[in-house]
Symmetry: C2
Subunit: 349 residues, 2 copies
C-alpha cells in the first residue's frame, strides 16, 4: 500500500489543456502533501504552468512528448500510438510500476482501449467498467457502473460489475455488505432485457459474495440513498449519468431565473445565499469528478473532459484514495472467492 501515491498525469488530454491539469495537481497537493506526480506532455507548455505553482514543483517529474490523442480519434487508431502519446505513456508508467495510478481527461474510448491493452483485465473479468460516485439524499454517495466503457453487456458482465462495484463501496465508502441493484425500467421481476433477468438470477444465487443483491431499481430512485451500488450497461449508465447532470443544471438555471425575476426575490436570494451556496457545492459535478476503470491490473482514472481545476483535484483525490485502499488487490480477492464458489457449484451439479 503506497503511503505516498504516485500519479501519472496525461497533461494533454481533453479540451482543458495543461494549465487546468497543473492547477488541479496544485490544489490536490495542498490537501494531500504526500502526493507525487509524473506528468506526460509538452514540456514547453507544462513548465510555465508549474512556475505558477512553486510548492508543487518538488513533487513533479515532467516526461516530455508532443504527441497527444485527439477527441475525435478512433480507439483503434489511438492504440497504435501508445508508446509516443501522453495518454499511452501515463498508462505505461502504471504497467511498469513506476506510478500507482494514471489520470487522463482525454478521449474515453481511446483511454479504455489503451488501458485494456497495456494493463489487461483481471482473471475472471471479461471487460473493465467505468465507475463513479453519485450524490444521494442518504448518508453516503452511491457507486454507479458502467458509465460508458461498454455499449452492450451480457449477464456475466453485469455480475462481474456487481462484484467490482461492491469492492469499491466496501473499500472507499466503508460499507461492509453493500446493497446492489440493477438499473431497469421497472422493479417487477418480469421487466427489462433478458440480460438483466439472467444477471438478477445469478446474483440472487451468489449469496456467498460480500454484497446484498436487492433486485431492480429505476432512474427516479438513484438519489434516494437506498442503494450502495447501481449496476448497468455502459449505454444506459452514460445516459442516466448525463441526464442527471443536465437536469441538475436545468433546475439550477430555472432557480437562477426565479431569483432574478423581481426585486423581492433578489432580496430573498441575498438572505438565503449562504445556505444556497452549500447546495451549489453539493451539486457541482466537479466535486464528483473522477471515474475509475475497474477490473484492470492497474488503476486508471478518467477526469471529465470539461472539468475545471477543482474537478481535476477531486479526480486526483479519487485516484489517491483507490491507491491507498489497494482496491485492485481487493477486487482480485473477491473475484477469486466468486470463482472458487462458482467452480464448487459446477462440480456439485
Amino acid at each position: 500500500m503506497a503511503v505516498s501515491p504516485r500519479i501519472a498525469i496525461d497533461a494533454m488530454g481533453g479540451d482543458i489543456g495543461p494549465a487546468v491539469m497543473v492547477a488541479g495537481m496544485a490544489r490536490a497537493r495542498r490537501k494531500d502533501r504526500a502526493l507525487k506526480f509524473d506528468v506526460y506532455g509538452d514540456e514547453q507548455q507544462i513548465k510555465p504552468e508549474l512556475e505558477k505553482h512553486r510548492p508543487l514543483m518538488d513533487a513533479v517529474t515532467i516526461h516530455h512528448t508532443t504527441d497527444a490523442i485527439q477527441a475525435s480519434e478512433k480507439p483503434s487508431q489511438a492504440i497504435r500510438r501508445a508508446k509516443t502519446t501522453s495518454m499511452g505513456m501515463a498508462i505505461n508508467a502504471v504497467k511498469e510500476g513506476a506510478a500507482d495510478a494514471a489520470l487522463s481527461a482525454g478521449n474515453t474510448g481511446a483511454l479504455m482501449a489503451m488501458a485494456k491493452l497495456a494493463l489487461r483485465t483481471m482473471p475472471g473479468i471479461d471487460r473493465p467498467a467505468l465507475a463513479a460516485l453519485l450524490p444521494t439524499l442518504g448518508q453516503t454517495d452511491c457507486v454507479m457502473l458502467d458509465l460508458g466503457a461498454n455499449t452492450e453487456c451480457d449477464a456475466q458482465n453485469l455480475v462481474q460489475f456487481s462484484v467490482m462495484g461492491s469492492a469499491y463501496a466496501r473499500t472507499v465508502l466503508g460499507i461492509s455488505k453493500p446493497r446492489v441493484k440493477l438499473l431497469n425500467i421497472g422493479t417487477e421481476e418480469l421487466k427489462g432485457t433478458g440480460e438483466l433477468k439472467e444477471a438478477a438470477a445469478l446474483l440472487r444465487e451468489a449469496t456467498y459474495l460480500p454484497l446484498k443483491f436487492d433486485g431492480f431499481t429505476e432512474g427516479d430512485k438513484l438519489s434516494r440513498g437506498d442503494v450502495d451500488v447501481v449496476v448497468t450497461d455502459g449505454f444506459s449508465g452514460n445516459i442516466a449519468l448525463k441526464t442527471a447532470e443536465g437536469t441538475a443544471r436545468f433546475v439550477t438555471d430555472l432557480l437562477r431565473r426565479a431569483f432574478t425575476s423581481s426585486l423581492r426575490s433578489k432580496a430573498g436570494f441575498a438572505l438565503s445565499k449562504p445556505a444556497l451556496n452549500l447546495l451549489k457545492v453539493h451539486l457541482d459535478p466537479n466535486n464528483h469528478n473522477g471515474a475509475v476503470f475497474l477490473g484492470l491490473n492497474g488503476l486508471v482514472v478518467k477526469s471529465h473532459g470539461s472539468a475545471n481545476y477543482k474537478g481535476v483535484a477531486n479526480a486526483i483525490g479519487v485516484a489517491a484514495s483507490m491507491v491507498r485502499n489497494d482496491i485492485t488487490r481487493k477486487i482480485g480477492e473477491d473475484l477469486d472467492n466468486f470463482r472458487a464458489h462458482a467452480f464448487a457449484g459446477d462440480a456439485a451439479e
Copy 2:
C-alpha cells in the same frame, strides 16, 4: 376533426383509483367545456365520486365492469381479458369509433399489448412508441420517444419513431420542420450502437421528410431547447425520463433542506416564495403528464400511475389536443410520403 373530443376513461387502472380519475376529469372539463367522457369501471365506486362533481355529470356515461387489470399482470395474461376489463373496454371504444381516444393510468405493458391487438399498427409502422413532452429552457417543450414501449429497437424502428415524433411536434407544438436528434452516449459519428449509426445514416438520406435530422444528442443536453424531437429506444428513454424526474426531485429536496437550515434562509425563502412557486409549477411532473402511443390506428394515452388529479387533467388535455389536431391521420400522411420516396429510391437502384 372532433370539435367535442370524446375520451374513453379506464377508471380502474393504476394505484390512484376512480376518485382521482373523476376529479381529474372534472378539472379538465372546467378548462374545456366541450369534452365528453365514457368511463369504464365499477359503477358503485364511480357514481359517488361523480356526485362530488355535479357539473361533470352531464358529460359522462358510465360503462359498468368490475374486472380490472392489475399492476403485476403480464401483458400476455391481460390481453385475454380485453373484452371484460375497464382497460380493454376503453380501448375497444376507440376501435369501434365510439370514442376519439382512450386514457388509462394502468399497467403500461398491458395497455401497450391490448392497444396494439385492438387497434393494430399503422401501415409502415412495426411498433408503436410512447411519446411525451419534456420541459426545456427553450421556447417550447420537446417531444421524446420511445419512453418504454419497446425494450429493444432496430434502426427501422428508430426512423419510424422520428417520423411519428415529428408529426407530433408539427401538429401539437406547431413547429413546421422539427429538429430531430437521436439520443446517444456521444455526439461524434463513431459513437453508439450499430442500430443508432444505421438509423442516423437513414435519416440523413431522407431529406424529403418534413423534419431536420441533426445527428446525436446526449443526456445532459435534453433540456437545452436546441432539439424538438429526441428519439431513442424504450429502455434508454425510460431510464432518461425517470432519471430526469428523480434528479429534479433530488435538487428540490436539497433546496428545501437549504431553505430550512437557518432562520435567515427561512426569511429569504419567504421573500422569494412567489418566484419559487413558478419554478415548482414548471417542474411538477403532473404538469407534463400524459404519454401517447403513436403509430396505432387510434389514440391511446397513458397517465402516470401515481399522478394526482391535476396530472390526470393534464393527460386528458393531451388526449383532446391530439384528437383536435387529427394526429393519427397526419402521421399516416407522413408515413405514406416516406414509403413513396423509399420505394422510388429502391426502384432507382
